[in-house]
Amino acid sequence: MPPLTDEERAVYEWQIWVPGFGETGQQKLRDASVLVSRVGGLGSVVAYELAAAGIGRLVLAHAGNIKPSDLNRQLLMTHAGLGTSRVESAQRRLKELNPRLEILSVAENLSEANAERLVGEVDLVVDCAPLFPERFAMNRQCIEQKKPLVDCAMYDLEGQVTTILPGETPCLACLYPEDPPSWRREFPVFGAVSGTIGCLGAMEAIKVLSGLGEPLAGTLLTYDLRDMTFRRRRLLKLDNCSVCGSTTDSGES
């Protein structure tokens, strides 16, 4: 890996001090790429934290233009940008923070049609999408391409995050084998809730890419901010999982 530049050392000095991370960890982040699928309430914060941490390349996938109802949580969108492209706003805000960051903006939501291409662009994926067909397409491609997937979700004042390591852990389809018919794209949530889970998801990505700490591999972290309860649950590998059943090297319990 090429050494850090003086500018990189200056910008990332405080996190380079983190034991177990150091300049080597920073170099790994700089040389890594991450797909953030949708840059809404969750993905805005994931992308912003990764940009701040010095990730080398981000691929952002999100269709549509900024609406008033985005602004309570989608922190890369602005009032002045109402009616304009979400990914363009996200790209502009991220480049203001980190001009060294390379960004590929895709004004499409992830789908079965583009999942293989988008996942193939990066080293790691962060799932911030609202709908399960998107989430399942991402999960399937990550398993097939053996790319780590950080899965983030929320509702009301609650959040969930887990890290899926193909060949090692259960996958999203092990946890939720079917598209839940009662789930809707629009639901109650505060920006502080999506921001919390976005920070946790970004930290998981940083850990997996740099080798720092222990990611939530095979573990679902859930929280309820009504009473600030955080819980960890072991995920169960489905023997007959249609997605990862034949790729997991070891059984999980």
Binding site: R38, R73, A153, L175, P180, R226
Partner: protein, 87 residues
């Protein structure tokens, strides 16, 4: 007595109550007890006699593969995990 945690989408039925103790030896019996106390709860979690798609049961920190048949111990902690997404 097992302690059950009510999922957010069903708390309108419990008047906002988040957790309570319920005498039950299985998840199925637990749901029946909750239905008696909070009419409508069963329909929130069951469909055609089984857990609704997108709903999982966690007992004592582990996602259960047994669903409604999961056995409960007196000190068990039961959570309904609902499939949610981003946005």
């Amino acid at each position: 007595m097992p302690r059950v945690f009510i999922p957010a989408p069903a708390r309108d039925l419990t008047g906002g109550l988040v957790e309570l103790d319920v005498e039950a030896v299985s998840v199925r019996r637990l749901i029946e007890s909750l239905e008696t106390r909070f009419p409508g709860f069963r329909d929130r979690v069951l469909e055609e006699g089984d857990l609704k798609p997108g709903l999982r049961i966690a007992i004592d920190g582990h996602i259960s593969a047994m669903g409604l048949l999961s056995r409960l111990e007196p000190e068990s902690e039961v959570h309904f995990l609902t499939a949610v997404g981003g946005g």
